[in-house]
């Protein structure tokens, strides 16, 4: 399981690059120009994220240095532990549906506080990848067509988000 997961994870990116470059050759698209053009957009994206990362990372590190994560575990582990969820993920879980860059900053804080190869960091990464800035998506798309009643969308999306936390921790345990 571990080695298979490692192999698939390892070849995913190179395979993707090879496929799109071959496609570009077949369709006669100037891949290099496209790349440069697209890459320019990454600069703005990174600069827009930087303030959020600084803010959240500083907060996460303060919280960690003060023993906040340890305290959180003490308080909430009786609810979260039966599901295999470390309490250190709480700030991330609470922020994620509301702010993508805020959550990214907290994730960075967890990675540096617990070490990138720790269970907490891996579970946080898996959860981050499986979730979306739910409230932003809902308000953007429903707002664009002036829908007022979103019916069951938010409860189900939130439930799936929480299920994501559980499965993130489960897979972080199983695969590594």
């Amino acid at each position: 399981m571990n080695t298979l997961s490692g192999i698939i994870s390892l070849i995913a990116l190179p395979l993707f690059m090879a496929v799109i470059l071959i496609l570009a050759l077949i369709r006669k698209v100037d891949a290099y120009q496209c790349f440069a053009e697209g890459a320019r957009g990454g600069i703005g994206l990174c600069i827009r994220t930087l303030p959020h990362i600084i803010a959240m990372m500083v907060a996460a590190r303060i919280f960690e240095a003060a023993g906040g994560f340890a305290l959180l575990s003490k308080i909430f582990s009786f609810v979260l532990e039966p599901f295999g969820i470390p309490a250190a993920l709480l700030p991330l879980i609470v922020t994620r549906p509301f702010s993508g860059s805020g959550a990214l900053g907290i994730l960075a804080g967890i990675l540096s506080a617990f070490g990138p190869d720790s269970f907490e960091a891996r579970a946080a990464c898996l959860y981050m990848g499986s979730s979306e800035t739910l409230f932003y998506v809902v308000s953007l798309y429903f707002g664009s067509v002036h829908i007022q009643k979103t019916r069951y969308t938010i409860p189900i999306a939130l439930a799936a988000d929480f299920a994501g936390v559980f499965f993130a921790c489960l897979f972080a345990n199983l695969l590594f």
Partner: protein, 192 residues
């Protein structure tokens, strides 16, 4: 909510620090973290640029469109009333596939197009239709094929094998997407 978490973490940390007498560690953590954040963004910058460059190639070569064609049939199962509406299904499929590739910027216009097409066939323009709810659920569950941002954050944090989360992240996102879809199907037709 991000604000609440931020303030609670900082103030809570201060109070705890005073109680536990760890104010010194906190001060050094603050300064260290600000510098670390910039280092992190430096390595994120490289990956973001690489990623967006690759995605532009994928966009221009029609990779996303090619994927979207393949997904149209299975997606039509989730939108029974759109079975004969290839145009709306096409927008939905493009949005879902662009999201899977992490092309947020490319996904949004297709998503907005799909929503406005769905609104045209909606019986009550103030209340979301089942198809709209299903579409949003698919969107928020966002299956992701290549978690490049996560990989790059792991690179920046000094992980031994930064890419080793790729499969796990795909599996988790797949499971939560399946659950969202099942929930959507079960709730279909209900008022709330």
């Amino acid at each position: 909510m991000a604000t609440t978490v931020w303030v609670v973490m900082i103030l809570g940390g201060m109070i705890l620090g005073i109680c536990n007498g760890t104010l010194e560690e906190i001060s050094s953590a603050v300064l260290g973290a600000a510098g670390e954040a910039v280092t992190l963004c430096g390595s994120l910058l490289g990956i973001y640029c690489l990623f967006m460059g690759l995605m532009r190639i994928a966009e221009k070569t029609g990779f996303a469109g090619w994927m979207a064609k393949g997904f149209q049939k299975p997606l039509s199962l989730l939108f029974p009333s759109l079975r004969h509406n290839a145009q709306v299904l096409g927008s939905i499929s493009m949005n879902v596939c662009a999201n899977m590739l992490g092309m947020g910027n490319a996904a949004t216009p297709f998503g907005l197009k799909a929503m406005s097409d769905l609104q045209k066939i909606n019986k009550n323009p103030l209340i979301a239709s089942d198809d709209m709810c299903m579409f949003i659920l698919l969107n928020t569950a966002s299956v992701q094929l290549l978690p490049l941002t996560l990989i790059s954050m792991r690179v920046a944090a000094g992980a031994q094998q930064p890419w080793d989360i790729t499969l796990g992240s795909f599996l988790v996102t797949l499971v939560s997407a399946i659950l969202a879809v099942i929930g959507g199907i079960m709730a279909r037709g209900r008022r709330k």
